[in-house]
């Protein structure tokens, strides 16, 4: 019954989807690891970035891949300002409060998108969309392969930045020991805003990489928000390696779930993993003990 070639194709497809999930989840886990806040607006911000890519293409004819630097910079600026003006002011007290504020943001963003862009599904036609690459029994769309490679390169670049740049070192210092970082003269509030900005910049990159093969509607955020949280929880909140491994595992789970259980029931794997991890191993695969 089980054709290995079929399975191989399913796993490859899952890996490709997972590559982009990694980028989305790295942003979320960075924000959690440094700020200790759960950014429920993550999906909605990704949706906004996808619309930005769409409109750049529709109005100015910019190819989604060429839009990468602009959208990343724009997303960083948007995240930075959002943190400075709103989130940072209430980043204290009960953790549900910040969750509710980011929920409020996602309600505003989703409905504002519906208000201004309408409810239609929007896609981008790129000339290379119909190009396929044959690997074994699997036919893989070229844009998905490009996106996969680009996503991993961006993650690697971010990893290097975090490891060697002064800002990266400061971010890691703040994540480990807030008070100590403040004492050695790091501007902690500024690092918070930069971290939030980088988290959102990852979404900007993900949006550029998604749009050639995906679509956007005002509810696109919903589709990603639980996936992103599942990856982060699976990998361990705040862990970069965890987000990477989790992203691929979830991509494969989704792909194989769809293969064996069908389009509808196949989505259940992600929610079930989320529940089981929270119930039985809340630190995830790579998380430190809370």
């Amino acid at each position: 019954m089980l054709d290995p070639a079929f399975l191989f194709a399913g796993i490859l497809n899952g890996l490709l989807a997972g590559g982009i999930y990694v980028l989305v989840a790295v942003g979320l886990t960075l924000i959690y690891g440094v700020l200790h806040i759960i950014n429920f607006a993550h999906g909605s911000l990704l949706m906004l970035a996808m619309y930005a890519v769409f409109w750049l293409w529709r109005l100015l004819g910019v190819d989604p891949y060429a839009a990468l630097p602009v959208v990343i910079a724009g997303a960083f600026a948007f995240g930075f300002v959002l943190y400075r003006l709103l989130i940072g002011r209430y980043n204290h007290g009960r953790d549900e409060n910040i969750l509710l504020i980011t929920l409020g943001l996602s309600i505003v963003f989703d409905n504002a998108a519906l208000l201004f862009f309408g409810g239609d599904t929007q896609t981008i036609d790129v000339p290379y969309a119909g190009t396929f690459v044959e690997i074994g029994a699997a036919f893989l769309p070229l844009p998905k392969i490009i996106s996969f490679v680009a996503s991993l390169l961006i993650c690697a670049a971010l990893g290097l930045y975090m490891a060697w740049s002064d800002t990266g070192k400061a971010i890691r210092a703040v994540a480990k020991e807030r008070q100590g970082a403040r004492l050695v003269g790091i501007d902690v509030e500024n690092i918070f805003a930069i971290s939030y900005g980088i988290g959102i910049a990852c979404l900007g990159a993900a949006a550029c990489l998604l749009m050639p093969t995906y679509y956007v509607t005002p509810t696109s955020g919903h589709a990603f928000v639980l996936v992103a949280f599942t990856i982060v929880v699976l990998g361990g909140m705040g862990s970069f390696v965890g987000a990477a491994v989790g992203g691929f595992l979830i991509g494969i789970t989704e792909s194989l779930g769809g293969l064996f259980l069908g389009e509808q029931l196949g989505q259940i794997g992600i929610s079930l993993i989320f529940i089981l991890i929270l119930l039985f191993k809340p630190t995830g695969l790579f998380g430190s003990k809370a």
Binding site: E96, L99, L100, I268, L278, L279
Partner: protein, 320 residues
Amino acid sequence: MSRPLLLCALGLAAAIVYPLLVPNYLVNVGMLIFFTAFIGQSWNIAGGFAGQTSFGHVVFFGTGAYTSTILQVTYGWNPWLAWPVATAMGGVVGWMIAVLSFRAGLRGSYFALITLAFAEVFRILANSVSFTKGGLGMLIKADQRPINFQFKDPIWIYYLALLLCIVSLLVAWHLTRSRFGARLIAIRENEDAARALGIDVFAEKVKVLTLSGAMCAAGGTFYAQKYLYIDPWIAFGVDKSVEMLLVSMVGGAGTIFGPLIGSFTLMGINEVTRALASVVPAFKNVQPLSLVVYGIMLILIVARLPNGLMGLFARKPRNA
């Protein structure tokens, strides 16, 4: 008669007379206000009084709606008999989720996220298994007789919603005066301190989520009987979870009248944007505006007004 009691009596009298004076459309709006206040109150009991913020309360709503509809459509039950069963099922699901989540020690944001995931699991199951008829949804045969929990005149469903709302207000009122309620508030304010005082935190949290789930499920059956149709997205979609949370938070989480005030405000904004959309052609797509406004209100309230709109009322006597 004390002043708050007088206000309640006046409000009740107005609510009873209101449907006799206005056209059917406005009766329906009134019905929706009380119904949303009712399911909002079910959220408020767990989320407001006990501080267990849920992002997936719709899981109970959908359980109630599907239980009574399946009993009715597939097994030929009378809906009035199916109603208490559906309510009990909501309680069972509430108990189950509470035992699982609280035994694992989930709190705050993690509890909120796991309820969201449970609702997703239920939605996907309802979409996939055959006894819920999958994505097609379930249609209840129209037969408008009171014995069938269907009413020709919208005034009766309005009064039923009003009754539900009053019951939920009494439950909330009871919570502010009972030891159970006091224990819940202690848990909300500081769980560790509550435990140190000898409160069985786990048992109380399980109790409150069971109660909240049962109430919400009762609302699910009511909704199914009013619209005679449910599908996985209506019954388990994230929109209803958000609506319940919004009306409570905006009106005032942990207050008796919070959900009612919030529901009144939400429907008010809704009707204004709807009217705007129908009168001014340029604004024909402004429906989502009401939720934009509501999202902004949620942010402002969490940031500045922890007791919601009720906080505005409570502050007046002190300043006067």
